[in-house]
């Protein structure tokens, strides 16, 4: 094979095609900031705990992985411990609720956006992205103010006389879900909107004309047409929601731990870096599995739809 910089290769290059080294910064970036840290985490997960808990001892062991399922008593006996499985299940549960709530909110919002006059749509879509202008940390903190016992919601409900005592919302699973839904809603709205905008509303008219009532039109014509957007939105919401840290930490009050909070604790207070690394590897594997599931679902959907498909999503 000829070297890429040989004369023939240069001649074969087409207009608008960059040379091979123009991709170099991206490759360097990916290696230095994504691949190397991942390799490091992977290696750490097979090493022993350092004496003082900070860093690792370079000695191979599988202990971090057995710790996921078993706890070791002081006498050295091993017993099954479902704590971490429970936390993983918890994380899944929160991610599922978040995705479903986001989906239920996003479909009507996206359809509404897509049916506005084109000149107003741009401004409205821009409005959806407003939350991205401020740090997530600050936005999550603001929910502490909104949800606390003396916050505006409790104040309002007391004011109109519905309640006498404030409803405890902050530091509950409810607060965590509110925070998660708030954080990830735009990631669901935007891809669904992108699909809905391309939807030909004359198809809905045709469905009405053929005798379909509203819900049937939505179920049989609109939803299949925006399915690529729905699948993309589910991926964009479910996966980061699974690894969420801020909302459960700040709004759930640490009571509703998700896997990311446990990982953070292992590198911090618990001083067990190898175990933290093993949990990270586990989260990565779970994420990849979820992606594969979504890919299969998308492929099936696109085969049924005969167009679009997984390639269209990414």
């Amino acid at each position: 094979m000829k070297a890429p910089w040989s004369a023939t290769a240069r001649q074969r290059r087409q207009a608008g095609q960059g040379s091979w080294w123009s991709g170099l910064p991206g490759v360097v970036y990916l290696i230095a900031l994504v691949l190397l840290p991942l390799i490091l985490i992977f290696i750490y997960s097979f090493l022993s705990r350092a004496k003082l808990g900070v860093g690792v001892k370079w000695q191979f062991t599988l202990t971090p992985y057995t710790e996921l399922l078993y706890s070791e008593s002081l006498s050295g006996g091993r017993s099954f411990d479902p704590t971490y499985l429970q936390i993983i299940a918890n994380s899944f549960w929160y991610a599922i609720i978040t995705s479903v709530v986001c989906l239920a909110l996003s479909i009507p919002i996206a359809m509404w956006l897509a049916t506005r006059p084109p000149e107003r749509r741009t401004a409205l879509v821009f409005a959806v992205t407003i939350p991205f202008w401020t740090s997530l940390l600050i936005r999550t903190y603001s929910f502490i103010i909104i949800l606390n016992d003396n916050g505006p919601i409790n104040g309002f409900l007391k004011g109109i006389g519905i309640i006498d005592e404030p409803i405890a919302m902050l530091y509950t699973p409810f607060a965590t879900v509110v925070g998660l839904v708030y954080t990830f809603l735009p990631f669901m709205i935007l891809p669904i909107y992108a699909s809905a905008e391309r939807f030909d509303f004359r198809l809905a008219e045709a469905a009405y004309d053929l005798g379909a009532a509203k819900w049937t039109v939505l179920r049989r014509v609109v939803l299949p047409s925006i399915r690529p957007g729905i699948i993309a939105g589910m991926v964009l919401v479910f996966i980061p929601a699974l690894g969420s840290y801020l909302a459960p930490e700040l709004l759930g009050g640490g009571k509703t731990s998700m896997i990311a909070n446990v990982i953070a604790a292992q590198f911090g207070a618990s001083r067990n870096w190898p175990f933290g690394a093993a949990l990270s590897v586990l989260l990565l594997v779970i994420t990849l599995l979820v992606l594969v599931v979504f890919a299969v679902v998308a492929k099936r959907a696109s085969r049924a739809a005969g167009r679009g498909g997984w390639e269209a999503l990414i």
Binding site: D200, A206, A207, Y208, L210, G211, A212, P224, R307
Partner: protein
């Protein structure tokens, strides 16, 4: 016509739209129309004349501001779209891209809760009717434009509507395919004896297909009649100009005939017999094929253009300020040349008085 005997009756339907600039547009201005059972009605007019709006009002996709629409004597204007026993063939075909051809056709039948095995039979029949048997498992995107058109037709006809509405169904097809589909549509209409209402801006198409033609202009129906009648006896200058080519002349009508400026007297028998009601200053229309030009050194007009349209020779002549177009079969005629002087004569009973 008795409204109860017609398949579809439209009474004083008015529809206005707000323009983005804040103005009001009368898309339909007190439109009334009766369509006979089993007939082929064509709504003809330039774009923006309201013909499509009327079709959408009948389908229920648009609701009129006032007026009534009745299907076989039963009012439908306050009925939701999905309850009306009318179906539409859309200009864009509007086939569901995620369904196969068979699923598209079955959709409307499923909405009527037709049992599955009957749907299967009906889908096959419908495909057969539009000569697409065997293509039921294809996706619309795998079909040509003409085939998609047929699927749209089969999908609407499978529901056996009381009236089939067709919104410029042939406008996306090329000329040759369009001609074929025109006779195909005529055949389907005869075979199913369903009432067809077709919207078009193409006057040739309207003439070729309609049992009746309703000519629209600016939100109103200006003339309804059989194609031949509308062509030969246009009631207004608009209809005369819009359908085919017409010479519209202005003159003074009395018992001897019509005196046209710079053409002289046109004898009374050149006018259609029952125009006696009119007198005084009138506009008359005459079709180019009823105008003949004879080469005549002392003629009143001078030839300004000669061209060939199909087998016809089209000659334009100017008599001082009045321009006249003549169209005669080109065979066996000595063609005049530009600049030749000609005299103008009209065929008997060929001039019709039109409103301005």
């Amino acid at each position: 016509m008795d409204a109860s005997a017609s398949a579809l009756s439209v009474r004083d339907v008015t529809k206005t739209f707000h323009t983005p600039e804040g103005g009001l547009v009368h898309a339909l201005d007190s439109v009334s129309l009766d369509i006979a059972e089993g007939s082929f009605m064509v709504l003809l007019g330039p774009s923006g004349c309201g013909k499509t709006t009327l079709l959408r009002c009948i389908a229920g996709l648009e609701s009129p501001d006032s007026g009534q629409i009745a299907l076989r004597g039963q009012r439908i204007d306050d009925m939701p779209v999905w309850r009306r026993r009318v179906n539409t063939v859309f200009q864009s075909y509007a086939l569901f891209p995620h369904m196969t051809v068979a699923q598209n056709i079955a959709f409307g039948l499923q909405m009527d809760k037709v049992p599955g095995d009957i749907i299967k039979v009906k889908v096959e029949e419908s495909l057969d009717m539009v000569h697409l048997s065997g293509l039921g498992s294809r996706k619309p995107s795998q079909l040509s434009g003409g085939q998609q058109q047929r699927v749209a037709l089969a999908r609407a006809l499978a529901k056996e509507p009381e009236v089939l509405l067709l919104d410029e169904p042939l406008s996306a097809l090329d000329l040759k395919l369009r001609r074929g589909m025109q006779s195909e549509l005529k055949r389907l209409q005869r075979e199913t004896s369903i009432t067809f209402v077709l919207v078009t801006h193409d006057q040739d198409e309207a003439m070729a297909m309609g049992d009746q033609v309703a000519v629209f202009n600016a939100g109103r129906i200006v003339q309804v009649g059989e194609p031949r009648e509308v062509y030969l006896r246009p009631r207004s200058r608009f209809v005369a100009d819009f359908i085919g080519e017409a010479n519209v002349l202005t003159g003074v009508l009395d018992t001897f005939g019509l005196v046209v400026e710079s053409l002289g007297l046109v004898p009374r028998d050149r006018l259609i017999a029952d125009t006696d009601a009119a007198s005084g200053r009138v506009h008359v229309a005459v079709r180019p094929e009823n105008v003949s030009l004879q080469i005549d050194p002392v003629g009143t007009a001078k030839v300004t253009d000669v061209s060939y349209v199909g087998g016809d020779m089209r000659v334009e002549a100017l008599a001082s300020a009045v321009s006249i177009v003549s169209r005669v079969p080109s065979q066996g005629v000595q063609p005049p040349r530009i600049g030749d002087r000609v005299s103008i004569s009209f065929a008997e009973g060929s001039l019709t008085v039109v409103a301005d």
